[in-house]
Symmetry: C2
């Protein structure tokens, strides 16, 4: 068992509160230099660190944050988590990670448990539109920040990119390359990214006077498998699209695989654009044209917004919106890819 204040007090023949004050560098403490030295030596010798649980109970602050995401195995969320941790750990916080696999029930049960643990704040990246658990967070006055997806627009502190602009940008790129039949692998109508990127797609068509063909829009969800199946539907239809804008890179990767399997050349037979610019996007051959968003910054900005709320004690409704940026690669324009190996190195981590 680690040493306690009481034990140290007995050994130093002072009151526990005095030890506590020395350990916490209480500036209001007037103390005999000799006593202070004696206590400091003892603290060092025993390598004393106050019990964080007892401290948390007394201070009503645990210095623990939580990040709730669908799945860390998806590189998007791994990078997001790093952003949060990098922003928070230097301020003395540790970070819990909870995966929901996209299940609202798991999200709910995680949030209940995090609340019972009295975490100081929550970064939520798995919310959907009009999410009741987000309203619950608001109601409980638990500091939180939504990332990437919002729930009730302008109601919540939020960090993300402008999905409408990004969707429009991606689609416009395809139209400007001469494509007239542009398909869309749409996300869910219950998720803000799905709704806005689709709206961006429609806006780009309108900008260029192209009519909407509802057969060219199909819901894919956010998985690789969903993307593959949806792309197959689109590409086997009588009047198939010559280009596809997919709601995310993972979905685009699914489409990419489906096209290959059908013997279609990319980009000659079908051009593909994704969204997010995960490391995998630049590794495919041909590389995946995509809309770049600063994933790590999503996380660090969310941490900042969260810590600001925790420290001021106020709920802050600020929204941090990053500008998306189109990255053109070989999946839309042949020959654009940098030679293999000269691409920016994505993962420098060990093992």
């Amino acid at each position: 068992m680690p040493v306690t204040l009481k034990e140290l007090a007995a050994r130093a023949r002072v009151h526990p509160s005095t030890i506590s004050r020395v350990a916490n560098n209480d500036p209001s403490l007037r103390i005999a230099p000799a006593t202070r030295t004696r206590i400091e030596t003892l603290l060092r010798e025993t390598d004393y660190r106050p019990n964080g649980v007892a401290r948390g109970l007394k201070l009503r602050q645990t210095f623990v944050l939580a990040v709730v995401i669908p799945d860390v195995t998806n590189p998007f969320f791994a990078a997001l988590f790093r952003g949060v941790e990098d922003g928070a750990s230097s301020r003395g916080y540790n970070v819990l990670l909870c995966n929901t696999d996209g299940s609202p029930e798991r999200q709910r049960s995680h949030l209940l448990s995090l609340h019972a643990r009295r975490v100081d704040g929550i970064v939520l990246a798995s919310s959907y539109l009009k999410d009741p658990t987000v309203r619950w967070l608001r109601h409980q006055a638990i500091p939180y920040v939504l990332v990437n997806r919002f729930s009730d627009e302008a109601q919540d502190p939020f960090v993300g990119s402008d999905d409408l602009v990004g969707g429009r940008m991606a689609t416009q790129h395809l139209i400007q390359l001469g494509h007239r039949r542009v398909g869309h692998l749409a996300g869910k109508a219950t998720v803000s990214t799905g709704v806005l990127r689709r709206r961006g797609y429609l806006a780009a068509l309108a900008d260029h006077g192209l009519e909407v063909d509802s057969h060219l829009i199909t819901e894919s969800g956010y998985t690789e498998e969903g993307g593959a199946r949806a792309a197959e539907r689109l590409l086997t239809a009588p009047n198939r699209p010559t280009a596809i804008f997919a709601v995310t890179d993972m979905t685009a990767v699914g489409a990419w695989g489906a096209a290959r399997r059908m013997g279609l050349r990319i980009p000659e037979d079908v051009a593909i654009v994704g969204y997010n610019d995960i490391p995998l996007a630049s590794r495919l051959v041909p590389g995946l044209t995509t809309v770049h968003v600063p994933i790590h910054e999503f996380g660090s900005a969310a941490a900042r917004l969260l810590l600001e709320q925790i420290e001021t004690g106020d709920a802050i409704r600020r929204r941090v919106i990053f500008n998306p940026e189109l990255i053109v690669r070989g999946s839309t324009v042949a020959g654009t890819d940098a030679p293999a190996g000269l691409r920016p190195i994505a993962a420098l981590a060990t093992e």
Copy 2:
């Protein structure tokens, strides 16, 4: 502020301890059915959940575990974390994630902080040989499990693969393909995986009567960049190898890029084998031949070993060693790759 036992007691006109007993389903509690009903209704109405911090202080158990790794952004560790969480969350535990970026100082400071928080146990996947912080864990009697890398062989609870067998297997594969000059991108001499996989490489050479050429072995560390630089050294030397066994997939990916950049064909001019079978391995073109290890199972087995120690209160020295398995792809044998898109889908996560 969430409701407390005391407030509920006042409302139900019973003692706080009675509420606590009802909430915890104390089997030894004899109570008037009417009182019980009244309390249960109140509990439900207020959605009462005991304050986990106070509970942790009293019970000396926090139901929090921690996973310490170099970097979640590396898919190997993301999968490992999922394994731990999947094994632990069903038992009521939440899991803290700490990234060290391979720095012993950051590892040390994370462990000190986790100890001060009184986490119930720690999964450590960033340890090195004779790691002093591992000895410190042992000394503090904090339940822990090492994963993938061990510190003092047979001294610690450990989950990993047989790295000697894996290294031998990888190298033997290359020799059996006819390669006589096989290079090795070696990990660090301070890390168990580096030492054992190198020993496996040497054993395979010996098995086949090949002499060791020290110019063919070069330390690459565990990063993509390190792999690229080390491979360049090997491939520009006068009598260059025709095949390379890299200590990890990320290192192999670096070598893969370097070879491409030099205009070498894979596998015709240089064959490459990695280790771990991360999702990226099957996505490269050509696919990366590698030694498969069950990463997710590493995590779930570690969680089991940890929970067993926590629940029994004993330190368990058991070692769980998985058998590695060779996966042959196009980076060693041309034409082995499944058609794109038919490969197993690696990431099904949303967004």
